[in-house]
């Protein structure tokens, strides 16, 4: 049960990059299409889940003085594994994601989770946490990529989806569009959260009134 909870918290409560305002660079840079977004997200999720588990397994052995260095080595190892694997089997995607694959190392999410969660929790829980947050990240990137691709290129996963005369709003695919889109999406999420909070508050008030 609690494993499930560790897993699902990444999808809303701790949804990166919106809730944890971390990992913004890849979010902004690679989400020019749904495919890129998903690829980047999954790569990160893989690194996150693996490094979380390994770090959790090693947590008793690693002296706390060198733990950050050790974490970095572990994360970086998995990043290189992903780098090589993608190059071998997903070459086209690898080329598109470019420098942002190696940058997963400094993407604050894996290190942040290592420090905040894996270093003090069991292997399974850490795996669930890493996978959940990683998948949450992948979903976020996928959504952002979808929006930008549909309006900015008129396609989804490379397939035309807008009406025939539609001329895409290329602005969305460029750097300014990335920032603006992410900002608007964050605002939308804020709005939903505010509504949720309000509803919860009202429900509580109603319950109190009834009692």
């Amino acid at each position: 049960m609690s494993l499930m909870k560790e897993f699902t918290k990444g999808f809303w409560e701790l949804l990166p990059p919106f809730r944890l305002v971390l990992g913004l660079c890849p979010t902004l840079a690679v989400t020019t299409s749904a495919e890129n977004g998903l690829g980047m997200g999954l790569a990160t999720a893989f690194v996150l889940a693996c490094s979380n588990m390994l770090i959790s397994a090693l947590r008793k052995i690693i002296p706390s003085k060198v733990r950050i260095a050790a974490f970095i080595v572990v994360v970086a190892t998995f990043v290189v594994v992903v780098e090589l694997t993608m190059q071998a089997y997903f070459y086209a995607l690898y080329v598109k994601l470019g420098i942002f694959i190696p940058l997963i190392v400094v993407n604050c999410i894996p290190l942040g989770r290592a420090e905040a969660f894996a270093s003090s929790n069991g292997v399974l829980a850490s795996g669930a946490d890493g996978l959940g947050i990683g998948l949450g990240f992948a979903i976020s990137l996928f959504s952002l990529g979808t929006i930008r691709e549909i309006f900015g290129a008129g396609t989804f996963w490379g397939v035309h989806v807008m009406w025939s005369g539609y001329e895409p709003m290329a602005f969305l695919l460029k750097a300014p569009g990335a920032f603006v889109c992410l900002g608007l999406m964050l605002a939308a999420i804020n709005l939903i959260s505010a509504r949720q909070a309000k509803r919860k508050l009202e429900a509580a008030r109603l319950a109190a009134a009834q009692a």
Binding site: E167, P168, M169, A170, F171, L172, K174, P176, G177, V180, G183, L184, A187
Partner: protein, 335 residues
């Protein structure tokens, strides 16, 4: 013993006549000559672009204040002014939906996201213009050749003087400078009539609705940087144009063409995003003028005026730190 219904509030008890709404009405008045010039040369297509942009901006504002909790300040006519300005800097040959989308972007993205008038960091009209340009560059270059009203000619997309200059410095000689000043040249609907824009701008300066430092700085910056550009341009020498007179001709050309005049008098002095301090405003103006010519001469874009404003907008908070000495403040005295 006390008399009823007396109002008590802080001084001053008498206020000037200028309100935000009246200011905006006067801006529109000041824009009227440019709009008429645009109508004269670009006819119904030009007029409809302006009207569409204005209507779209106004409608967007109305809808936005309806569906959000933002205060309803439609009556201050800000949206109308923004839409008008946007329409005036669009080419007459754009498809109908460009001014419509532009109006929406201006209001929603440029203004409302920040909470409305007073809060946005950059000129909303120009934010929208650049977003449109990055998105649909071909449409945003659909400039018509002028066809004076009643002459019965056909509108056709053509090269603007600045595009011509970018490709070939010899274009300096093609255009009659007088045509450039009255607006008889290809360009955006309301940006070609330099004289009309100057007239409106002078009105605004005299009415003290814009600080004189910004337009003066912009024109000065443009002239100075044009001289630098001309001085370093070997192509001029190859054409046999040499000396100060030739360089001044380049400066004169830069002043009269493209978006410089509407920028100097209407877009750069946009209050919210420009500095409030006198020296800050002057530097801002100089920066806008100089940057315009830099982009035109060495940059990738054909015209630099609008980008220049956005760039200088990012500097506004820093320019605002340049202040005059406070009268009565003793040097060395603490607060």
């Amino acid at each position: 013993m006390s008399s009823p219904l007396l109002t008590v509030s802080t001084s001053p008890h008498r206020l000037g006549r200028t309100t935000i709404r009246s200011m905006h009405l006067e801006f529109m008045l000041a824009l009227a000559p440019a709009l008429l010039t645009g109508f004269y040369y670009f006819g119904l297509p030009g007029l409809s672009v302006v009207l569409l942009a204005t209507a779209s901006a106004l409608l967007t504002e109305i809808v936005t204040v309806r569906v959000t909790s933002l205060p309803n300040r439609v009556a201050d006519l800000h949206a109308v002014l923004l839409g008008l300005l946007l329409g005036l800097i669009l080419p007459a040959g754009v498809p109908w939906w460009i001014p419509v989308v532009g109006g929406v972007l201006t209001i929603v993205l440029g203004k409302m996201v920040f909470g409305g008038l007073g809060n946005y960091p950059m000129n909303p009209v120009l934010v929208a213009w650049v977003a449109l340009s990055l998105s649909w560059p071909e449409h945003m270059n659909a400039y018509f050749a002028p066809v004076p009203l009643g002459s019965g000619g056909e509108f056709a997309v053509t090269e603007t003087p600045l595009m011509a200059l970018k490709n070939d410095i010899g274009s300096l000689e093609i255009y009659e400078l007088w045509d450039l000043w009255v607006g008889n040249a290809p360009g955006a609907v309301g940006a070609t009539g330099s004289l009309a824009l100057i007239a409106g701008g002078l009105y605004l300066i005299i009415r003290r609705l814009i600080p004189w430092q910004i337009p003066v700085g912009a024109l000065l910056g443009c002239v100075l940087m044009s001289l630098v550009a001309a001085y370093t341009d070997s192509r001029l020498l190859e054409m046999g144009m040499e000396g100060l007179a030739a360089n001044l001709k380049v400066a004169w050309f830069h002043l009269a063409t493209g978006g410089l005049m509407i920028t100097a008098f209407f877009l750069a002095p946009e209050p919210v995003s420009s500095p409030v301090t006198p020296w800050g405003a002057l530097l801002f103006g100089l920066g806008v003028g100089g940057m315009t010519v830099i982009v035109r001469t060495w940059g990738a874009w054909v015209d630099g005026a609008f980008y220049a404003v956005l760039l200088l907008n990012t500097l506004t908070p820093i320019l605002d730190r340049i202040r005059p000495k406070v009268i009565g403040k003793v040097i060395g005295g603490a607060v």
